[in-house]
């Protein structure tokens, strides 16, 4: 089962079982939802951006272990970063998954390197990031928490 362990690393299984920053963000001012109609996965990412810095971030939704762990690890990686740093990190993460880019500077996110061997699952790992990126592209606005 060594191959599967490359994909489902302990860190990923842990974040799937106990996702961090899961739930609503009370003072969110940017929000976006990622939806993969192919598999039904949904993730809603809420951000609190102040002076171009991500002060708070949380996510909600349901999905597979890869998408849940990716969203969870993303929230940890983005908290406290500037918007520009966040975009840079996404580019690095995306390259790691699609073109075998370097793990340098990605920290814990490097656990997703194994996903590259499963092309159909790359979308799972990037879903939350796309949602976060879409949220960062927005202007500030109060987010309804209905």
């Amino acid at each position: 089962m060594s191959d599967l362990r490359d994909l489902y690393q302990e860190v990923i299984l842990d974040h799937n079982r106990a996702p961090r920053n899961f739930g609503q963000l009370p003072n969110a001012n940017r929000e976006s939802e990622g939806h993969n109609p192919l598999c039904g996965d949904r993730v809603r990412v809420s951000l609190h951006v102040e002076d171009d810095r991500i002060e708070g971030i949380a996510f909600q939704g349901s999905g597979c272990a890869i998408s849940t762990a990716s969203a969870s690890l993303m929230t940890e990686a983005l908290k406290g970063r500037t918007v520009e740093e966040a975009r840079h990190l996404f580019r690095g993460f995306h390259d790691l998954l699609t073109t075998g880019g370097s793990e340098d500077g990605l920290g814990k996110l490097a656990v997703f390197a194994g996903v590259r061997e499963y092309p159909i699952r790359i979308k799972c790992a990037t879903l939350a990031w796309h949602a976060a990126q879409a949220a960062l592209d927005q202007q500030d606005h109060p987010v309804s928490t209905e």
């Binding site: 089962m1 599967l4 362990r5 299984l13 079982r17 192919l38 039904g40 272990a65 890869i66 699952r121």
Partner: protein, 418 residues
């Protein structure tokens, strides 16, 4: 797991599973270094050599356009195509070959009826009744039709086992009901609907009955007259034939009264710049050059299935289903979705703490091909409170050992995820 729990293999006399498997070249390939265990038959089935040969024989020996030429090849192609239509007629128990229309698949067949019959007939205040277990292909065309015509779509609910609640179904019928569209067999739950009973109820209110047989034809002996349906649809690729070819059966007098839904060549009687008269069914509904070799290969697939015999296939598949249902109980945290009393060989399930896509990936590493997702039946997933399920669906070539391979792979998933 070294324990052998394989059930006794009860095969009908003359049903030689090893020989059947030899007929399907793809079954001998490996996936990720493991023998392929193909359990995604409800999505699409693999093809026997007879189907491959039908394509080769047509292209190598007699291919030409149909109904167009006086030359030998055109006549041979036309004959082969019409012979396939006759094979379909026999398989469905239809009365006449002109009740058999070749289309791209079940989806197109249902769209044809929705556009042609529905566009002509359905008005405001009219209703169409479907059930809660329909595939999107037997839901969305009716929903769209109702929106266009200002009519109303009604849905008969399911019970916890995945059976249509017949009292509710009957309660939803009225003089306003113009069409009842039901699946013969549910693709996501495996439920076999009591189509005859439902058709009788519908007819008492003067409604027509369309049966989505995409999952019926591969698993059950179909007799459209015994079922009492007005339309029956199926897809070639789900019954060991090619994708891109399917069938609409319609009672002759209904098809005769229906206008064309697509127009062009091959479906006309006479054309002037002022006026066109249309050919009678089935050609009225087959505008353009049809998928000639696909129709011929579908005939070959049905011949193949009929040689083994649907009663024998159904009996074997129900052994597979019983064994799978029993062994799935031993997987920790597994919940079956769809436990109808009358079921085809489809098992849908949810595993606590493991998303179906992760199950699908883990099984694939073991060579086991299953479907993970909503199976184009999102309302069914909503009804049972799951975003998606993992589905194993069996076909005529599956072995008991493959059920055991599925169970072992599920144990591995459980091991990995804890």
């Amino acid at each position: 797991m070294t324990l052998s729990l394989t059930a006794p293999q009860v095969l009908a006399p003359g049903y030689d599973l090893d020989r059947v498997r030899d007929d399907f070249p793809i079954l001998s390939r490996k996936i990720n270094g493991k023998p392929l265990v193909y359990l995604d038959n409800a999505a699409s089935t693999q093809k026997p050599r007879a189907v491959l040969d039908a394509f080769a024989d047509c292209y190598n020996g007699y291919y030409s356009n149909v109904h167009r030429g006086v030359h030998t090849l055109s006549q041979l192609s036309t004959e082969a195509c019409e012979q396939a239509r006759e094979t379909v007629r026999r398989t469905l128990g239809a009365e006449r070959p002109d009740e058999i229309v070749f289309v791209r698949g079940t989806t197109e067949a249902i769209n044809l009826v929705a556009c042609s019959w529905g566009g002509e007939t359905l008005g405001p205040h009219d209703e169409i009744l479907i059930t809660g277990l329909e595939h999107h292909s037997n839901l969305v065309p009716w929903q769209a039709l109702c929106e266009r015509q200002g009519a109303r779509l009604r849905v008969a609910p399911l019970d916890d086992r995945g059976e249509v609640i017949l009292e509710e179904f009957e309660r939803l019928l009225s003089e306003r009901t113009r069409m009842v569209a039901v699946a013969h067999v549910s693709n996501s739950l495996g439920t076999i609907n009591p189509v005859r009973e439902m058709a009788d109820m519908a007819h008492r209110y003067g409604a027509l009955v369309l049966v989505d047989g995409a999952q019926g034809v591969p698993h059950l002996q179909v007799d459209v007259r015994a079922l009492g349906c007005d339309f029956y649809t199926f897809s070639g690729h789900k019954v060991y034939g090619p994708s891109g070819i399917g069938v609409l059966y319609g009672r002759a007098e209904l098809l005769e009264a229906m206008p064309p839904w697509q127009t062009g060549g091959g479906m006309v009687h006479g054309v002037t710049f002022e006026k066109t008269t249309f050919a009678p069914p089935p050609h009225r509904f087959e505008a353009g050059t049809p998928f000639i070799e696909g129709a011929i290969a579908l005939g070959a697939a049905l011949d193949y299935v009929n040689r083994i015999g649907l009663p024998a296939i159904a009996a074997w598949e129900s052994e597979l289903l019983a064994h799978a249902t029993e062994r799935l109980q031993e997987v920790r945290g597994l919940r079956l979705v769809g436990t109808a009393r009358h079921k085809a060989a489809v098992v849908s399930f949810a595993m606590e703490g493991i998303h179906p896509h992760d199950v699908g990936t883990i099984l694939d590493q073991e060579g086991v091909a299953v479907r993970a997702g909503h199976h184009c039946a999102q309302p069914v997933m909503t009804r049972y409170g799951v975003p998606a399920t993992t589905r194993a669906s069996f076909g005529l070539y599956n072995r008991m050992e493959e059920v055991d391979a599925l169970i072992s792979a599920l144990h591995r998933a459980r091991e990995l995820f804890g």
